[in-house]
């Protein structure tokens, strides 16, 4: 058996044995209708093409090692082409080409069918989320026909299980790509254009999405969290997001709010219910309710929040949030305040 094949099957075995294929960011661990259809198509392609590959390898092996009819001539090659053999080989060639044609026609057809099926979901969407990509984070708007029932968050998408959701994709700067492998394939966000995709989660869970088009310095740290939850919990979450930010509950937080509103922070961020209303950076109204910070760079925790605000450039070099020099006290206050924004 050829080495490539051995390594191949080893790799495959490895993948199946490790938690690998069952990842939070794996196309082979579908949690949505589209990802499921695509994964099915994938295994089908893999099966068919693996057989093709085995046939080629077997042919090669036989060709290289079969016993020869004649001994090696001492004086160079045999020039005569034997008519009989040429004819046989030509027959084989024709069959091979026809077979190849048949296989690719089938695969094209299957691929097309799956594509149609996936697209069929587009019209069924019940909710609309507008995702705008920015270097290097995601602005997420839940649009509602009633403007006051629209709200904004960042780097996080929550979905009700079983409900198809239309995702409107825009970019403010360069091209990015929206990709949540467990749910669906990717679609680019292109400045000057509006794209669309549909997501539907078949089961509860937390998935990781990541920007898939190179978008500069921090392309690597432009992830997002997708949380699929039952409808009722989703609705509750939605209500909570509609409310303005909680007022600071203690002195430390109150002092932190003051710092936030008087320091540079206010020039870039929005916190509903306060005077902070800039849209350069993520909306922080409910920042403490998010699973992660800075587009999936850090899991959310009070410590990480403090670390981020103290030096965002060390954690995510080159990102668009500058260092704001705060005294330890001020920092403590800001962190306490933001951490209270559930």
């Amino acid at each position: 058996m050829s080495r490539a094949l051995r390594i191949g099957s080893l790799g495959l075995a490895l993948c199946l044995a490790l938690p690998g294929c069952q990842g939070v960011q794996s196309a082979l661990d579908p949690a949505g209708h589209q990802a499921g259809r695509i994964a099915g198509l994938w295994w089908l392609f893999l099966g068919v093409l693996a057989v093709v590959y085995l046939v080629v390898l077997a042919g090669l092996l036989i060709a290289a090692s079969r016993p020869r009819r004649r001994g090696v001539l001492p004086n160079g090659p045999s020039f005569a082409r034997e008519e009989r053999i040429e004819r046989r080989l030509t027959g084989g060639l024709t069959a091979w080409a026809v077979g190849t044609g048949a296989i690719i026609l089938t695969l094209t057809g299957l691929s097309y069918a799956v594509d149609r099926d996936i697209l069929g979901l587009t019209d069924k969407a019940e909710l609309e989320i507008e995702v705008t990509a920015k270097q290097w984070w995601w602005q997420v708007k839940y649009n509602d026909p009633v403007p006051s029932r629209s709200f904004e968050t960042a780097n996080e998408i929550r979905l009700p299980v079983g409900v198809p959701v239309r995702i409107v994709l825009k970019s403010q700067d360069v091209i990015h790509s929206f990709w949540v492998p467990n749910l669906h394939g990717k679609t680019d966000l292109i400045p000057g254009r509006v794209n669309e995709t549909t997501l539907v989660a078949d089961r509860e869970g937390r998935f990781r999405g990541q920007c898939a088009e190179f978008c500069g310095f921090q392309h690597a740290n432009m992830a997002l969290d997708v949380v699929a939850m039952p409808r009722d919990r989703f609705d509750a979450w939605r209500e909570s997001q509609l409310s303005p930010a909680a007022a600071p509950a203690d002195d430390l937080a109150r002092q932190g709010q003051q710092v936030f509103l008087s320091a540079a922070c206010v020039m870039c961020h929005t916190i509903h219910g306060t005077t902070a209303a800039s849209r350069v950076g993520p909306d922080l109204t409910h920042v403490a309710s998010r699973p992660s910070l800075a587009a999936g760079t850090l899991p959310y925790s009070k410590g990480n929040l403090a670390g981020w605000i103290a030096d965002p450039q060390r954690i995510k070099p080159g990102n668009q949030m500058p260092i704001t020099s705060l005294s330890p006290d001020q920092l403590q206050g800001v962190v306490a305040y933001l951490d209270s924004l559930k």
């Binding site: 198509l41 060639l93 094209t108």
Partner: protein, 648 residues
């Protein structure tokens, strides 16, 4: 009629002039002057070809070292060996160098060296243009690498998508150097393509009718046509990019009626054919090596030629498969799925013919054949993953992930670098007169093959389980750690394979076994002359009577036994031109002498291109030295030669 008394006869090759005398006179007419001046002014296609090979290989090693740096950074999660800025420059330089400065020029290099020999002529068509193309290519490569070393290397990926590469998001000069590098290399590639086309059309030895052209030459011919139709696209797009960046045009600016996808269409209209521009010459290597070591003429010559045409033709109809995620209409995308998959038919036909040749032959497993077998094993896997990518739904998942990285290294390294190493082992004796060590060759192959698969197979899985490409680091706990470590280990073994090769060359250049004219008992014309070939390639132009002229010789005759034609001048550089289809002798045309002007013109072009990065006026004032260079180049050196001696 005795030599010496009748000048009309001695100035031509023919029965009247002894072989030693003919060779001496040809050597004088075709010699490159000695010393530095000669080195700078040579127009000998073998010297230029050798330079191309060495330069392109140097770029391969440099880009390979960058790849090692990337693999070190990615060996584990959240490593900090490279900063994001460095990493972005490094992967861009790696891809750009491999594609523009290694793969394409390397294939051109072999064409420049071998096509004239294989078609049995004394020189390439337009040898000065050829010398010029090399200097331009070298200048472009040096410019890019100097910029990289000075920390102004491009950092937007080898296809420089706008608007990221545009004036707003990539201020500074980084992307300008990238765009001008494209211009340099494309000028060189287009020049070489025209030379190859004309060499093949007009300079084939008498009797080399279309059905006797070696498959390698067919491959290079189809490739050259692809260059002619594909490269203008990237010239147009990179010029638009540089104008957007430097003089404020708005081709890609959506705010002023431009469009980001225009770039992608133009780039991939070039970019997809580009991969076949790399692959088709490599199939020529395979079709040359296989018959020699299978000891049997190739099976399915006509089918293989048609497959080349089909691939070349289809290759222009599927660029959109790189853009499936951009949100283009799905109906159109399905067309590109079908067109992409259709390439499997010609590719499959090629694979079949090669295996059939091996099957019906009596193979000798020398190193070149090992690499050809490695090629089949690796390339077919890469081709099949290409079929997966061609499916719109599957691609929507794996696009821009390590699955694609795996695909293209399987087809690029499998489809081009494996055959290339085979070609090195196969033609090294012709280029240098010495054999490479077969024992080291086996090690070279083994390390390369094992290392390659270890490095790149895991990437398929990485892509499927979510790892995007072009990330300088990745978080722990997503499940990518082990496979990345494996890939890094593979890359190290692969590098050891490359190092083995370099060592083999180093040693064999001095101590290799002497090769003789035709060490492998091969059948094509390049083996009918000495190793390395003399400056004039052949003492007499051979007459071709079959696909493998040396094999169709009457048994027992050495290569010198080929029938030949006489009557070409030996006191001057003269070529035999033949008709396009039948290769009937038609004309004797002079071939240019060495000249410094190609180098000077290339320097002028370099000043113009690099200057234009800093001011658009460079195009205007740079045109003046360029015009001087070109006039010097084409101005006849001496008054017309004394009229040709009359023939009685």
């Amino acid at each position: 009629m005795t030599a010496g008394t009748d000048t009309a006869v001695v100035r031509r090759d023919g029965p009247g002039l002894g072989e030693a005398e003919t060779n001496a006179r040809l050597a004088r007419s075709w010699a490159t002057p000695p010393g530095l001046w000669g080195w700078l002014s040579t127009v000998d296609h073998k010297q230029v070809g050798r330079r191309y090979v060495v330069t392109a290989f140097t770029f391969f090693v440099l880009a390979g070292l960058l790849a090692l740096a990337m693999r070190m950074q990615l060996a584990g999660p959240e490593r900090t060996l490279l900063s994001p800025d460095r990493y972005n420059q490094i992967f861009t330089m790696h891809g750009t160098t491999m594609m523009f400065l290694f793969a394409v020029p390397m294939m051109e290099a072999f064409a420049i060296y071998l096509v004239p020999l294989m078609v049995g002529t004394r020189a390439i068509a337009f040898p000065r243009l050829n010398a010029f193309s090399y200097w331009v290519y070298l200048a472009g490569g040096i410019m890019l690498w100097v910029a990289f070393i000075l920390n102004v290397g491009p950092d937007v990926g080898w296809f420089s998508y706008v608007p990221l590469a545009g004036p707003q998001y990539s201020p500074g000069k980084r992307v300008d150097f990238w765009a001008q590098m494209v211009t340099f290399t494309e000028v060189a590639a287009l020049a070489v393509a025209v030379e190859i086309i004309v060499t093949v059309f007009k300079q084939r030895a008498p009797g080399m009718s279309l059905n006797r052209i070696p498959l390698f030459v067919w491959g290079q011919l189809v490739t050259s046509f692809m260059v002619v139709f594909a490269m203008p696209a990237v010239m147009v797009s990179s010029s638009m990019l540089i104008m957007d960046r430097l003089i404020g045009t708005h081709f890609f600016n959506p705010a002023e009626g431009g469009d980001a996808l225009l770039w992608q269409h133009l780039f991939w209209f070039f970019g997809h054919p580009e991969v076949y521009i790399i692959f088709l010459p490599a199939t020529g290597f395979v079709s040359s090596i296989l018959p020699t070591f299978a000891r049997r003429p190739i099976f399915g010559y006509t089918a293989l030629v048609l497959a080349l045409f089909a691939t070349g033709f289809l290759g222009f109809g599927l660029w959109v498969h790189h853009m499936f995620a951009t949100g283009l209409p799905h109906l159109g995308n399905s067309f590109y799925t079908a067109a992409s998959m259709a390439i499997a038919i010609p590719s499959g036909i090629q694979i079949f013919c090669w295996i059939a040749t091996l099957w019906d032959g009596r193979p000798r497993f020398a190193t070149p054949l090992l690499f050809v077998i490695g090629f089949i094993v690796v390339f077919v896997l890469g081709g099949l993953s290409g079929i997966m990518l061609a499916s719109v739904p599957l691609d929507s998942q794996v696009h821009d992930t390590y699955f694609v990285v795996a695909h293209f290294h399987y087809v690029l390294i499998g489809g081009a670098v494996f055959p290339l190493f085979g070609a090195f082992y196969y033609w090294f004796p012709k280029f240098t007169g010495r054999m490479l060590s077969e024992r080291v060759g086996a090690w070279n192959f083994g390390l390369f093959f094992v290392g390659f698969n270890l490095a790149f197979f895991p990437m398929h899985i990485l892509g499927l389980i979510g790892m995007p490409r072009r990330v300088y680091s990745y978080p722990a706990g997503v499940g990518w750690d082990e496979l990345n470590l494996l890939a890094t280990a593979g890359a190290v073994i692969l590098a050891a394979g490359v190092a083995t090769f370099v060592g083999n060359v180093w040693h064999s250049l001095k101590h290799g076994v002497s090769a003789g004219d035709n060490p492998w008992g091969a059948g094509t014309l390049e083996w009918a002359t000495s190793s390395p070939p003399p400056s004039y390639n052949f003492t007499h132009i051979p007459v071709v009577t079959g696909q493998e002229p040396l094999w169709t010789l009457p048994q027992g005759l050495p290569a010198q036994g080929l029938p030949v034609v006489g009557g070409l001048r030996v006191d001057q550089r003269e070529l035999l031109l033949t008709t396009v289809v039948d290769a009937d002798p038609d004309l004797r045309e002079p071939s240019p002498e060495p000249s410094i002007w190609p180098l000077l013109s290339a320097l002028a072009v370099t000043a113009l291109f690099i200057g234009s990065i800093f001011t658009p006026w460079a195009v205007v004032w740079g045109a003046i030295p360029l015009a001087v260079g070109l006039i010097g180049w084409f101005w006849p050196k001496s008054p017309p030669d004394t009229p040709e001696p009359v023939i009685d």
